[in-house]
């Protein structure tokens, strides 16, 4: 298995190598995005980094400009003739440092500014291109790179062995049997012809197994034909965040090939923002052919079950006020907006929206792999101020979301800004509200699976 960590290149080599990556990634869309910014400033206050700090050097346009300066030196007529006139520059050490700082440290690629740009520019595309260039020359936060390396080496980003995975699944099987009162309940593992193949987040397997228990309970209650694959179950793909397309391709291909080998019909992505975006929208570019499976998020599936009456929910079991944080990769880059609201309106007593919300929701500042970059921790928490204020204004006691990065970030944000809210996955609220009638047994109440570990005061 290839190790992805590149050795940082020296000045001249690094600049040339970075520009070679830019050339290899130069599509028509990227080129027009490089040329079309008029520096109008209308994107400024769409960015959570800028709103929290007021720093002129974290506005979306300024950040994108750090890549444009390099681009213009090679591709823009004026940039080649009179570089100083348009601030075009060579990719020297100082410029690459600046690019590193903005691409990894001051942007989560949340694409909120895209919706505010009068030209319709795609800042996510620009920043990911910058990350690709930097990763190729070894200038990538080590934590982020290690996550990708571990995924490539072991098949999941936390290096969980197949044996440990199976053991955890068996434990969860017993837990589900106990909580639903059905001793015959089995978690189908490596079953050929599985209709819905669940993908999990390694964090769930390693630290929060009760989370995927909640999802399994949903499938059980809905009477779904579902299962797991012991060799391809990690929904994440942090190479999306590091911009490493070769690693993206390797991870996606292995996963999809395994799903095809099992004859699965649909891949169900756990509550993982970037994982959903990767498999639902961007995988085909790396896979190189049509996907052998359909892709759906757990959120979409659960909403469908509720709509079809396959899940019975009792909202009185979730009486506290709940607000919902839209993960950027699911809402703005994925179109999942109505489904979580539909679920919550059926699963909780008091649902409150943040302002703004949906596709205009602010990023929690933990996206784009930010949680795997401890060197930018202070900045990440500072940038979350806007989100903290949004949450506080709702008066909610629970923040539900549908992405593990968001969960971890919001939990830390709640502690940092003393919000006193619990941060939960959507599936936890669904599991709490489930009214389960086990096969061959008397009616059982869904046992609450809300964890206390993420209660922040």
């Amino acid at each position: 298995m290839a190790t992805r960590a590149a050795t940082p290149k020296t000045d001249g080599d690094a600049g040339k190598a970075a520009m070679d990556v830019l050339a290899s990634k130069l599509t028509r869309e990227l080129a027009v995005n490089m040329h079309a910014c008029v520096h109008c400033g209308l994107c400024f206050d769409s960015c959570h980094y800028y709103l929290a700090t007021g720093d002129p050097k974290v506005t979306p346009a300024y950040k994108a400009e750090q890549l444009r300066r390099l681009y213009k030196r090679r591709y823009d007529w004026m940039g080649r003739l009179l570089p100083g006139w348009v601030h075009a520059t060579q990719p020297n050490e100082e410029e690459l440092d600046k690019l590193y700082d903005v691409a990894f440290g001051s942007c989560t690629m949340c694409r909120r500014c895209n919706l505010s740009c009068p030209m319709g520019l795609d800042m996510g595309l620009i920043m990911r291109t910058a990350r690709s260039m930097l990763t190729a020359i070894g200038r990538v936060p080590s934590g982020l790179q290690e996550t990708v390396d571990t995924h490539l080496a072991t098949g999941n980003n936390m290096g969980i062995s197949r044996e440990d995975f199976i053991e955890t699944v068996e434990w969860m099987e017993e837990e589900v049997q106990r909580t639903v009162g059905d001793p015959d309940f089995k978690i189908p593992l490596d079953q050929p012809g599985t209709e819905y193949l669940m993908c999990l987040n390694p964090r769930e397997v390693k630290f929060y197994p009760l989370l995927f228990l909640a999802q399994f309970k949903t499938c059980y209650a809905a009477g779904e034909n579902w299962g797991l694959c012991s060799t391809a179950w990690d929904a994440t793909n942090y190479a999306l965040c590091s911009g490493d397309d070769a690693a993206c391709k390797q991870i996606v291909t292995r996963h999809l090939d395994e799903a095809a080998r099992l004859g699965a019909k649909t891949l169900v992505l756990t509550e993982c923002g970037h994982g959903y975006r990767v498999y639902r929208w961007e995988a085909q570019g790396w896979y190189g052919k049509p996907l052998p499976v359909k892709v759906v998020s757990y959120v979409e599936l659960a909403a469908r079950y509720v709509r079809d009456g396959r899940l019975r929910l009792d909202p009185t079991r979730n009486p506290d006020p709940v607000t919902y944080h839209d993960p950027c990769n699911q809402a703005r880059s994925g179109g999942i907006v109505d489904e979580p609201r539909y679920i919550l309106k059926n699963a909780v007593m008091d649902f409150r929206e943040m302002t703004p919300h949906g596709v205009h929701n602010f990023c929690c500042a933990g996206g784009g792999g930010a949680l795997a970059m401890p060197e930018f921790r202070d900045r990440r928490l500072e940038a979350a101020r806007t989100k903290a204020e949004q949450i506080r204004a709702t008066g909610a006691k629970i923040v539900a979301t549908s992405c593990h990065n968001c969960i971890d970030q919001l939990t830390e944000v709640s502690r940092h800004y003393k919000l006193g809210v619990r941060v939960l996955n959507l599936c936890e609220l669904v599991a709490n509200a489930l009214v389960i009638e086990p096969r061959g047994a008397s009616t059982a109440q869904g046992t609450p699976v809300v964890r206390s570990t993420r209660t922040a005061s």
């Binding site: 869309e29 008029v38 002129p56 050097k57 506005t59 348009v86 505010s116 319709g120 570019g285 596709v359």
Partner: protein, 219 residues
Amino acid sequence: MDDFVKLLENEVQIAALSLFALMYAARLLWLRSLPQPMEKMEPKGSARRGILLSFGSVLMPWSMESTRKHFSVYVEFALFHIAIAIAIGATFIHPYAKGALTDPVVYTFVAFLSIGTVVGVLRGVRRVSQPELRALSTPDDYFTITIITIYFPVAIWGLVSDSNWGLIAYFGLTTFLLIYVPWSKISHYLYMPFTRFYHGFLFGRRGVTVPKLRSATEG
């Protein structure tokens, strides 16, 4: 003097326009040579509706948070670009359809060009005074706003003055701009149809900015 004005209005303008068109053609051919893989996953929304909405949003300031919050900037944008269209349009009307430049038409043009001048000054002041814009601005940004802001009163001078000097300044500056524009940020309008297309395609297809074809919550 009259012959010089005629030369400037006709042959020189045509030559400058040809160069302008040639440069844009080269740029478009270069863009065409670049690869453009398009997303092929099963759509949730409609790319076509997304693209229509994306282009339409230019005329719908209420549809974007930025233009809702900064409505005055949107109004400035609209007035500034109307003034630009008039200043450029009049360089075609003057030599080839002078009869159309009746007093009411000229006064209307002058009104918009005057407003454009004021807006240009406001935009220039903002670029200099706002730290966020200053951090971002290049000499091209400052030069562009200055030259366009000067272009408006020069256009007024050319349109209302009896002296040939007004026309020489107007058409001389137009010639300069035709040559300079493809090199500068003013050429953003060449790229805007592309960026708006890709924006609409992405967000429309994924069901972000347009209603989804099939929502999990609907029948």
